[in-house]
């Protein structure tokens, strides 16, 4: 999962990115490509800066982050608990699996109208919809993580006198952790996707509305600026998840550094 960066590789990446950006800047300024559709990188940065200064950015970013995190945390926790239960007991699995199999293939955004009809058009329906989007990757990955634990480990732990508490804490939880964490990462990505989509469809604030507003007024520089912010948000999530992985799954990390 983690890429290895060599010094040479970093140099090549930096140089090429710089080349692309500067030629974009050059072409855009001299009218070789339309500066309306492709505003120059400096213009985009300026827009981000002015967004930041007049407070637009913080209002919308906070709104997005808030509903994203609420939804994500709810969906993740429910998904985790159900995933553990379903992975461990075939009774639970047989009971709940049909529902998951039926609802999982539906793009969660398609459920939004139904959710809004039930929960109203306020914040609750948005958060529920985001929670639903992060629930599925979480429950599926946690479940398969628990199911893949070799039976031997249970037997070994029991032979040393482990009770259910220790079996959970010392076997199920750590053994399923790599899979669970990839569930968390997918859930985080899914909730970002769905938050933006929901905001585009129906919200008064958030980065998604900013995108839609820029399109309606044809301020494409603002559109680009918002996209850059969303991209940064997504990458910082991925970065955080990598850190979390190396903290919670140290035994896999250590091996990697050896190879």
């Amino acid at each position: 999962m983690k890429k290895k960066y060599t010094q040479k590789g970093i140099c090549i990446s930096c140089l090429f990115v710089f080349l692309v950006l500067s030629s974009w800047e050059f072409f855009s300024r001299h009218g070789i490509i339309s500066s309306f559709f492709f505003p120059s990188p400096c213009k985009i940065l300026q827009t981000i800066y002015s967004f930041f200064m007049d407070g637009t950015l913080s209002i919308h970013l906070l709104a997005t982050l808030q509903r994203l995190l609420f939804g994500f945390l709810i969906g993740c926790n429910v998904g985790f608990i159900l995933g553990i239960l379903m992975g461990y007991s075939s009774f639970f699995r047989n009971m709940i699996d049909p529902f998951i199999a039926a609802i999982h293939p539906i793009p969660k955004i398609a459920l939004l109208p139904l959710i809004m009809a039930i929960l109203g058009i306020g914040e609750a329906s948005k958060i529920f919809s985001i929670a639903l989007a992060s629930f599925f990757p979480m429950v599926i990955n946690t479940m398969s993580g628990v199911m893949q634990i070799p039976k031997d480990y249970y037997e070994i732990a029991r032979s040393y006198g482990a009770g259910n508490y220790h079996i959970f804490l010392r076997v199920i939880l750590p053994a399923s952790m790599p899979s669970t964490l990839s569930g968390v990462r997918l859930a985080l990505n899914m909730s970002l996707v769905n938050t933006i989509a929901i905001e585009i469809i129906s919200a008064k604030n958030g980065l998604g509305t900013l995108i839609w507003f820029a399109w309606e007024t044809l301020h494409l520089a603002e559109l680009y600026a918002t996209l850059v912010v969303i991209s940064l948000l997504g990458s910082s999530f991925n970065f955080l998840m990598q850190r979390l992985y190396s903290i919670l799954v140290p035994w896999r990390e250590m091996n990697k550094s050896d190879n």
């Binding site: 031997d152 070994i156 010392r170």
Partner: protein, 271 residues
């Protein structure tokens, strides 16, 4: 104080001297509609501080015997008598392919049994560390099992079982996966641990020579359903040498055991 208690235990066990008595143990599994008989009328006794090996062809139920003694499995019929003073851990098992938890460090793995006994964190770390020092593995305490060599992992697995301070160590082909040279060293270390900590050992292996080299007594088993073909005492004094007179005796016994199970092994190959 501790030594006193230990001597008392020793005195008590000396009287009867039999730690474990297995009486006509049978075990069968349900496979589809058939009852599959795995073990048939297994009877033997384990003395205090005895090194007992069980040899036999693959699939004869050697591991099942260990699991039954450890209490992981229940016998279908027959009984086991444990003649040991009550203690948290009577037997500890060393599993095939080490069975260490990859997500725990070496230290945490060795301390695992102690944690299950409810020993607090500080004390169990110290005790686990002192065991690791015994075989100079203390510098690897913070490593994870996957970072160690196969031989090291097996030793850590033995320490994990030893750390719970059982009367009997149950070992399921512990050195089957390491190469022949390292096996020699590990055997020597096992014998050192066995003498130093005065444990009894039941050692399952398919390597006849290894069994003769290590054991006081060998149970030879038939292929499925597993029965005990015979019980052989090894008369060699310790420490045993792989040279001179010892080597000759070992070769003789090996030939004798091989003659006994040759038919069985052939049969298990044909199935």
């Amino acid at each position: 104080m501790c030594i006193d208690i230990f001597n008392n235990i020793l005195a008590e066990t000396k009287i009867t001297n039999m730690l474990i008595t297995c009486n006509k143990i049978s075990k069968s599994y349900k496979a589809k509609d058939k009852e599959l008989l795995c073990l048939q009328d297994i009877s033997f006794q384990l003395q205090s501080q005895e090194f007992l090996s069980i040899v036999g062809p693959n699939g004869c139920g050697k591991t099942t015997i260990l699991k039954i003694i450890d209490g992981i499995l229940c016998p279908t019929s027959g009984e086991i008598m444990y003649n040991m003073p009550e203690k948290k851990t009577l037997t500890s098992m060393v599993f095939q392919n080490h069975g260490l938890f990859p997500w725990l460090t070496v230290l945490e793995n060795v301390a695992f049994g102690l944690e299950m006994q409810g020993v607090n964190k500080k004390e169990r770390s110290e005790r686990a560390m002192s065991f690791l020092k015994q075989i100079s593995l203390d510098s690897f305490a913070r490593y994870f099992p996957d970072q160690l060599s196969l031989g090291m992992r097996q030793q850590v697995a033995i320490l994990r079982a030893l750390a719970t301070d059982p009367y009997v160590l149950l070992m399921d082909e512990p050195f089957a996966s390491v190469d022949a040279q390292i096996k020699r060293i590990l055997q020597a270390r096992l014998l050192y641990i066995w003498e130093r900590y005065q444990k009894s050992v039941i050692y399952v292996t398919h390597d006849i020579e290894e069994a003769i080299f290590l054991s006081d007594k060998i149970l030879v088993m038939s292929s499925r359903p597993g029965k005990i073909l015979c019980e052989i005492s090894i008369p060699l004094e310790r420490p045993r040498q792989l040279s001179g007179e010892h080597l000759k005796t070992i070769a003789e016994i090996k030939f004798h055991i091989w003659k006994l199970i040759e038919k069985e092994v052939t049969r298990s190959c044909e199935i």
